[in-house]
Protein backbone atom coordinates (compact mmCIF):
# COMPACT_ATOMS: atom_id res chain seq x y z
CA UNK A 1 0.00 0.00 0.00
CA UNK A 2 1.37 3.47 -0.91
CA UNK A 3 1.42 5.69 2.17
CA UNK A 4 0.18 9.25 1.57
CA UNK A 5 1.51 11.27 4.51
CA UNK A 6 -0.66 14.36 3.94
CA UNK A 7 -3.81 12.30 3.62
CA UNK A 8 -2.95 10.35 6.78
CA UNK A 9 -2.31 13.61 8.65
CA UNK A 10 -5.71 15.02 7.62
CA UNK A 11 -7.50 11.82 8.42
CA UNK A 12 -5.91 11.51 11.87
CA UNK A 13 -6.61 15.15 12.70
CA UNK A 14 -10.27 14.60 11.88
CA UNK A 15 -10.29 11.45 14.04
CA UNK A 16 -8.77 13.20 17.07
CA UNK A 17 -10.90 16.35 16.75
CA UNK A 18 -14.06 14.27 16.51
CA UNK A 19 -13.16 12.25 19.61
CA UNK A 20 -14.60 14.88 21.93
CA UNK A 21 -15.10 18.62 22.17
CA UNK A 22 -11.97 19.28 24.25
CA UNK A 23 -9.79 18.27 21.27
CA UNK A 24 -11.59 20.38 18.64
CA UNK A 25 -8.63 22.76 18.19
CA UNK A 26 -5.86 20.18 17.94
CA UNK A 27 -3.32 20.77 15.15
CA UNK A 28 -0.67 18.45 13.73
CA UNK A 29 1.91 19.98 16.10
CA UNK A 30 -0.18 20.23 19.30
CA UNK A 31 1.67 18.39 22.04
CA UNK A 32 -1.03 15.96 23.10
CA UNK A 33 0.85 14.58 26.09
CA UNK A 34 2.09 17.86 27.60
CA UNK A 35 -1.34 19.47 27.10
CA UNK A 36 -3.04 16.55 28.85
CA UNK A 37 -5.28 15.92 25.82
CA UNK A 38 -3.96 12.38 25.30
CA UNK A 39 -5.69 10.08 27.76
CA UNK A 40 -5.69 6.29 27.71
CA UNK A 41 -9.05 6.13 25.93
CA UNK A 42 -7.90 8.31 23.02
CA UNK A 43 -4.54 6.55 22.81
CA UNK A 44 -6.07 3.08 22.62
CA UNK A 45 -8.75 4.28 20.18
CA UNK A 46 -6.02 5.81 18.01
CA UNK A 47 -3.95 2.63 17.97
CA UNK A 48 -6.91 0.41 17.10
CA UNK A 49 -7.98 2.90 14.41
CA UNK A 50 -4.47 2.95 12.91
CA UNK A 51 -4.33 -0.85 12.97
CA UNK A 52 -7.66 -1.10 11.16
CA UNK A 53 -6.94 1.57 8.56
CA UNK A 54 -3.27 0.89 7.82
CA UNK A 55 -3.03 -2.82 8.62
CA UNK A 56 -0.04 -2.43 10.94
CA UNK A 57 0.23 -3.72 14.48
CA UNK A 58 1.42 -1.83 17.55
CA UNK A 59 2.67 -3.27 20.81
CA UNK A 60 2.95 -1.58 24.17
CA UNK A 61 6.64 -0.82 23.49
CA UNK A 62 5.48 1.50 20.71
CA UNK A 63 3.54 3.59 23.28
CA UNK A 64 6.59 5.76 23.65
CA UNK A 65 5.89 9.46 24.39
CA UNK A 66 8.01 10.52 21.40
CA UNK A 67 5.79 8.43 19.10
CA UNK A 68 2.52 9.85 20.39
CA UNK A 69 3.22 13.43 21.46
CA UNK A 70 1.61 14.94 18.36
CA UNK A 71 -0.28 13.92 15.23
CA UNK A 72 2.76 14.43 12.98
CA UNK A 73 4.81 12.04 15.15
CA UNK A 74 2.02 9.47 15.04
CA UNK A 75 1.94 9.65 11.25
CA UNK A 76 5.73 9.15 11.18
CA UNK A 77 5.32 6.08 13.39
CA UNK A 78 2.68 4.64 11.03
CA UNK A 79 5.02 5.21 8.07
CA UNK A 80 7.83 3.41 9.94
CA UNK A 81 5.61 0.49 10.91
CA UNK A 82 4.34 0.15 7.34
CA UNK A 83 7.87 0.19 5.97
CA UNK A 84 8.89 -2.44 8.52
CA UNK A 85 5.91 -4.61 7.62
CA UNK A 86 6.52 -4.49 3.85
CA UNK A 87 7.84 -7.77 2.46
CA UNK A 88 11.47 -7.46 1.48
CA UNK A 89 11.98 -8.43 -2.14
CA UNK A 90 15.11 -9.48 -3.21
Amino acid sequence: MMFDREKALDELLRFVRAHDLSRANVTAQTDLIESGLMDSLLLVDLIVHLEEVYGVRFESEHIDPTNFNNIAAIVDLVAQRMAAAEPRLG
Binding site: D20, E34, D39, S40, E51
Partner: protein, 290 residues
Protein backbone atom coordinates in the same frame (compact mmCIF):
# COMPACT_ATOMS: atom_id res chain seq x y z
CA UNK B 1 -4.28 -22.82 41.47
CA UNK B 2 -3.50 -19.62 43.33
CA UNK B 3 -4.77 -18.62 46.75
CA UNK B 4 -4.88 -14.82 46.90
CA UNK B 5 -5.61 -14.71 50.64
CA UNK B 6 -3.42 -15.98 53.44
CA UNK B 7 -4.67 -19.11 55.18
CA UNK B 8 -4.88 -17.55 58.64
CA UNK B 9 -7.55 -14.97 59.38
CA UNK B 10 -6.74 -11.92 61.48
CA UNK B 11 -7.28 -13.06 65.12
CA UNK B 12 -10.37 -11.61 66.75
CA UNK B 13 -8.23 -10.15 69.51
CA UNK B 14 -6.46 -7.98 66.91
CA UNK B 15 -9.67 -6.51 65.51
CA UNK B 16 -10.80 -3.34 67.27
CA UNK B 17 -14.14 -3.75 68.99
CA UNK B 18 -15.92 -1.12 66.95
CA UNK B 19 -14.84 -2.80 63.69
CA UNK B 20 -16.10 -6.12 65.07
CA UNK B 21 -19.39 -4.40 65.89
CA UNK B 22 -19.83 -3.75 62.13
CA UNK B 23 -18.33 -7.10 61.14
CA UNK B 24 -20.91 -9.01 63.16
CA UNK B 25 -23.90 -6.76 62.45
CA UNK B 26 -26.84 -8.69 61.03
CA UNK B 27 -28.01 -7.82 57.53
CA UNK B 28 -31.38 -6.91 59.05
CA UNK B 29 -29.72 -4.04 60.95
CA UNK B 30 -28.95 -2.31 57.61
CA UNK B 31 -25.75 -1.02 59.20
CA UNK B 32 -23.78 0.96 56.62
CA UNK B 33 -20.06 0.38 57.14
CA UNK B 34 -19.04 2.65 54.28
CA UNK B 35 -16.73 5.56 55.02
CA UNK B 36 -16.10 8.19 52.35
CA UNK B 37 -13.50 10.94 52.51
CA UNK B 38 -12.65 13.44 49.79
CA UNK B 39 -9.64 15.69 49.49
CA UNK B 40 -7.67 17.52 46.81
CA UNK B 41 -4.22 17.06 45.36
CA UNK B 42 -1.88 19.52 43.68
CA UNK B 43 -2.53 18.80 40.01
CA UNK B 44 0.18 21.23 38.90
CA UNK B 45 2.86 19.20 40.70
CA UNK B 46 1.59 15.87 39.35
CA UNK B 47 1.28 17.15 35.79
CA UNK B 48 4.73 18.76 35.86
CA UNK B 49 6.20 15.49 37.11
CA UNK B 50 4.42 13.45 34.40
CA UNK B 51 5.53 15.90 31.70
CA UNK B 52 9.11 15.56 32.88
CA UNK B 53 8.95 11.75 33.10
CA UNK B 54 7.30 11.47 29.69
CA UNK B 55 10.22 13.38 28.17
CA UNK B 56 12.58 10.62 29.36
CA UNK B 57 10.36 7.55 29.59
CA UNK B 58 10.05 4.84 26.91
CA UNK B 59 6.35 4.46 27.70
CA UNK B 60 3.57 7.02 28.21
CA UNK B 61 2.88 7.47 31.93
CA UNK B 62 -0.50 8.88 32.99
CA UNK B 63 -2.09 9.98 36.30
CA UNK B 64 -3.72 6.52 36.50
CA UNK B 65 -0.30 4.86 36.69
CA UNK B 66 0.80 7.31 39.39
CA UNK B 67 -2.40 6.55 41.33
CA UNK B 68 -1.74 2.78 41.14
CA UNK B 69 1.80 3.23 42.43
CA UNK B 70 0.69 5.60 45.23
CA UNK B 71 -2.05 3.16 46.26
CA UNK B 72 0.39 0.24 46.34
CA UNK B 73 2.84 2.18 48.51
CA UNK B 74 0.00 3.21 50.83
CA UNK B 75 -1.14 -0.42 51.14
CA UNK B 76 2.35 -1.41 52.26
CA UNK B 77 2.14 1.23 54.97
CA UNK B 78 -1.45 0.26 55.89
CA UNK B 79 -1.57 -3.54 55.73
CA UNK B 80 -4.86 -3.36 57.64
CA UNK B 81 -6.44 -2.35 54.36
CA UNK B 82 -4.78 -4.99 52.18
CA UNK B 83 -7.35 -7.50 53.39
CA UNK B 84 -10.69 -8.95 52.48
CA UNK B 85 -13.75 -9.82 54.54
CA UNK B 86 -14.87 -13.44 54.07
CA UNK B 87 -17.89 -14.38 56.13
CA UNK B 88 -17.23 -12.70 59.48
CA UNK B 89 -13.48 -13.05 59.22
CA UNK B 90 -10.75 -10.83 57.83
CA UNK B 91 -8.01 -12.38 55.68
CA UNK B 92 -4.87 -10.55 54.55
CA UNK B 93 -3.91 -10.69 50.86
CA UNK B 94 -0.65 -12.45 50.07
CA UNK B 95 0.53 -9.71 47.67
CA UNK B 96 0.03 -6.00 47.23
CA UNK B 97 -1.97 -5.95 44.00
CA UNK B 98 -4.12 -3.10 42.73
CA UNK B 99 -7.12 -3.25 40.42
CA UNK B 100 -8.01 -0.47 38.03
CA UNK B 101 -11.27 0.02 36.20
CA UNK B 102 -11.00 0.85 32.50
CA UNK B 103 -13.34 1.36 29.57
CA UNK B 104 -13.29 -1.75 27.42
CA UNK B 105 -13.36 -0.17 23.99
CA UNK B 106 -14.43 -3.26 22.09
CA UNK B 107 -17.24 -4.29 24.47
CA UNK B 108 -18.20 -0.69 25.28
CA UNK B 109 -18.34 -1.45 29.00
CA UNK B 110 -16.22 -1.21 32.11
CA UNK B 111 -13.71 -3.95 32.86
CA UNK B 112 -11.01 -4.44 35.47
CA UNK B 113 -7.35 -5.20 35.21
CA UNK B 114 -5.03 -6.27 38.00
CA UNK B 115 -1.52 -4.94 38.50
CA UNK B 116 0.07 -7.74 40.50
CA UNK B 117 2.75 -6.91 43.06
CA UNK B 118 2.26 -3.25 42.26
CA UNK B 119 4.48 -2.30 45.22
CA UNK B 120 7.44 -4.00 43.53
CA UNK B 121 6.96 -2.32 40.15
CA UNK B 122 8.16 1.11 39.17
CA UNK B 123 6.00 3.58 37.27
CA UNK B 124 7.27 2.42 33.87
CA UNK B 125 6.56 -1.23 34.64
CA UNK B 126 3.07 -0.37 35.88
CA UNK B 127 2.42 1.68 32.73
CA UNK B 128 3.66 -1.14 30.48
CA UNK B 129 1.40 -3.63 32.32
CA UNK B 130 -1.64 -1.42 31.92
CA UNK B 131 -1.01 -0.61 28.22
CA UNK B 132 -0.52 -4.31 27.42
CA UNK B 133 -3.92 -5.15 28.87
CA UNK B 134 -5.68 -2.13 27.30
CA UNK B 135 -4.40 -3.08 23.85
CA UNK B 136 -5.36 -6.70 24.38
CA UNK B 137 -8.86 -5.67 25.46
CA UNK B 138 -9.27 -3.24 22.57
CA UNK B 139 -8.51 -6.07 20.12
CA UNK B 140 -10.64 -8.61 22.00
CA UNK B 141 -7.61 -10.86 22.36
CA UNK B 142 -6.67 -13.06 25.28
CA UNK B 143 -8.41 -15.65 27.41
CA UNK B 144 -10.20 -13.16 29.65
CA UNK B 145 -11.91 -11.52 26.68
CA UNK B 146 -13.05 -14.89 25.31
CA UNK B 147 -14.46 -15.74 28.76
CA UNK B 148 -16.19 -12.37 28.99
CA UNK B 149 -17.82 -13.00 25.61
CA UNK B 150 -19.11 -16.40 26.85
CA UNK B 151 -20.44 -14.85 30.06
CA UNK B 152 -22.23 -12.14 28.09
CA UNK B 153 -24.05 -14.79 26.03
CA UNK B 154 -25.52 -16.49 29.12
CA UNK B 155 -29.31 -16.10 29.37
CA UNK B 156 -30.49 -13.89 32.26
CA UNK B 157 -31.75 -16.81 34.37
CA UNK B 158 -28.48 -18.73 34.22
CA UNK B 159 -26.42 -15.56 34.66
CA UNK B 160 -28.30 -14.83 37.89
CA UNK B 161 -27.91 -18.41 39.20
CA UNK B 162 -24.19 -18.40 38.41
CA UNK B 163 -23.64 -15.02 40.07
CA UNK B 164 -25.62 -16.05 43.16
CA UNK B 165 -23.77 -19.35 43.50
CA UNK B 166 -20.32 -17.85 42.96
CA UNK B 167 -21.20 -14.85 45.14
CA UNK B 168 -22.34 -17.11 47.98
CA UNK B 169 -19.15 -19.18 47.89
CA UNK B 170 -16.95 -16.12 47.51
CA UNK B 171 -18.52 -14.24 50.41
CA UNK B 172 -18.42 -17.19 52.81
CA UNK B 173 -15.31 -19.20 51.93
CA UNK B 174 -11.68 -18.37 51.30
CA UNK B 175 -11.52 -19.42 47.67
CA UNK B 176 -8.61 -19.85 45.30
CA UNK B 177 -8.65 -18.09 41.95
CA UNK B 178 -11.08 -20.27 40.00
CA UNK B 179 -10.94 -18.80 36.52
CA UNK B 180 -9.45 -16.06 34.37
CA UNK B 181 -12.53 -13.97 35.07
CA UNK B 182 -12.07 -13.89 38.82
CA UNK B 183 -8.29 -13.39 38.72
CA UNK B 184 -8.90 -9.74 39.56
CA UNK B 185 -10.04 -10.87 43.04
CA UNK B 186 -6.36 -11.13 43.95
CA UNK B 187 -6.34 -7.45 44.94
CA UNK B 188 -8.72 -5.68 47.31
CA UNK B 189 -7.92 -2.11 46.30
CA UNK B 190 -9.64 -0.64 43.26
CA UNK B 191 -8.63 2.66 41.71
CA UNK B 192 -10.54 4.79 39.21
CA UNK B 193 -9.02 7.52 37.11
CA UNK B 194 -11.90 9.81 36.14
CA UNK B 195 -9.64 12.72 35.19
CA UNK B 196 -10.30 12.32 31.47
CA UNK B 197 -10.52 15.49 29.32
CA UNK B 198 -14.08 16.82 29.27
CA UNK B 199 -15.06 15.30 32.65
CA UNK B 200 -17.17 17.73 34.72
CA UNK B 201 -15.78 19.07 38.01
CA UNK B 202 -16.16 16.45 40.72
CA UNK B 203 -17.59 17.60 44.04
CA UNK B 204 -18.28 14.22 45.55
CA UNK B 205 -17.92 10.62 44.47
CA UNK B 206 -18.65 7.34 46.18
CA UNK B 207 -17.62 4.33 44.17
CA UNK B 208 -20.15 1.50 44.39
CA UNK B 209 -19.14 -1.69 46.16
CA UNK B 210 -19.10 -4.92 44.17
CA UNK B 211 -21.81 -7.44 45.06
CA UNK B 212 -19.09 -9.99 45.92
CA UNK B 213 -17.52 -7.50 48.37
CA UNK B 214 -14.11 -8.23 46.85
CA UNK B 215 -13.11 -4.57 46.71
CA UNK B 216 -12.13 -3.54 50.19
CA UNK B 217 -11.48 0.05 49.32
CA UNK B 218 -11.55 2.40 46.40
CA UNK B 219 -9.55 5.47 45.43
CA UNK B 220 -10.88 7.76 42.71
CA UNK B 221 -9.04 10.64 41.06
CA UNK B 222 -11.20 13.33 39.46
CA UNK B 223 -10.56 15.91 36.73
CA UNK B 224 -8.28 18.93 37.02
CA UNK B 225 -9.86 22.28 37.77
CA UNK B 226 -8.48 25.70 38.61
CA UNK B 227 -8.94 27.14 42.06
CA UNK B 228 -7.88 30.46 43.57
CA UNK B 229 -5.93 29.95 46.80
CA UNK B 230 -4.08 32.19 49.21
CA UNK B 231 -0.36 32.05 48.48
CA UNK B 232 2.11 34.14 50.47
CA UNK B 233 0.63 37.64 50.71
CA UNK B 234 -1.60 37.28 47.69
CA UNK B 235 -3.75 34.89 45.73
CA UNK B 236 -2.85 32.48 42.95
CA UNK B 237 -4.70 30.20 40.57
CA UNK B 238 -3.65 26.58 41.02
CA UNK B 239 -4.73 23.32 39.43
CA UNK B 240 -6.29 20.79 41.78
CA UNK B 241 -7.65 17.27 41.37
CA UNK B 242 -10.20 15.75 43.75
CA UNK B 243 -9.28 12.46 45.36
CA UNK B 244 -11.92 10.31 47.05
CA UNK B 245 -11.53 7.23 49.16
CA UNK B 246 -14.28 4.75 49.96
CA UNK B 247 -13.36 2.44 52.83
CA UNK B 248 -15.00 -0.19 55.01
CA UNK B 249 -15.59 0.47 58.70
CA UNK B 250 -15.38 -3.28 59.38
CA UNK B 251 -11.66 -3.02 58.69
CA UNK B 252 -10.55 0.49 59.43
CA UNK B 253 -11.79 3.63 61.16
CA UNK B 254 -12.02 7.22 59.99
CA UNK B 255 -8.74 8.17 61.67
CA UNK B 256 -6.88 5.50 59.67
CA UNK B 257 -8.75 6.42 56.48
CA UNK B 258 -7.59 10.01 56.96
CA UNK B 259 -3.97 8.92 57.47
CA UNK B 260 -4.03 6.66 54.41
CA UNK B 261 -5.56 9.40 52.31
CA UNK B 262 -2.95 11.83 53.62
CA UNK B 263 -0.18 9.46 52.49
CA UNK B 264 -1.64 8.98 48.99
CA UNK B 265 -2.18 12.74 48.73
CA UNK B 266 1.37 13.41 49.86
CA UNK B 267 2.77 10.95 47.29
CA UNK B 268 0.77 12.56 44.49
CA UNK B 269 1.65 16.08 45.66
CA UNK B 270 5.34 15.08 45.70
CA UNK B 271 5.28 12.52 42.89
CA UNK B 272 9.06 12.18 42.82
CA UNK B 273 8.51 10.06 45.97
CA UNK B 274 6.65 7.52 43.82
CA UNK B 275 10.05 6.54 42.50
CA UNK B 276 11.62 6.06 45.90
CA UNK B 277 12.05 2.65 47.44
CA UNK B 278 9.44 1.47 49.93
CA UNK B 279 11.74 2.10 52.87
CA UNK B 280 11.97 5.79 52.05
CA UNK B 281 8.25 6.45 51.89
CA UNK B 282 7.44 7.99 55.25
CA UNK B 283 4.87 6.47 57.51
CA UNK B 284 2.15 9.04 58.21
CA UNK B 285 2.77 10.74 61.49
CA UNK B 286 6.53 10.39 61.08
CA UNK B 287 8.74 13.10 59.69
CA UNK B 288 8.72 13.09 55.91
CA UNK B 289 11.93 13.55 54.00
CA UNK B 290 12.32 17.03 52.55
Amino acid sequence: MKWPLRSRAVPNADIPLYNRFYLHASRASHADATIVWGTEIDADALQAFLRERNRQSRVVITPAHALIRATALALVQFPALNVRVVGRKIYPFRDVSVRIAFFHRRNKEIDLLLVQNADQKNLQQIAQNVWDRLLQAARGEGGRDRDLARLRRLPGFWFRQLMRFHGFLDRHFRLPILSRLDATRAGGALVNDLSFPGAPPMRSYKASRFPDESDTFNLTLGPVEQKVVAKGDGFASVGIMPLFVRADHRLIDAYQVGRLLDLVRDLLNHPERLEESLANVATPGQAKPD
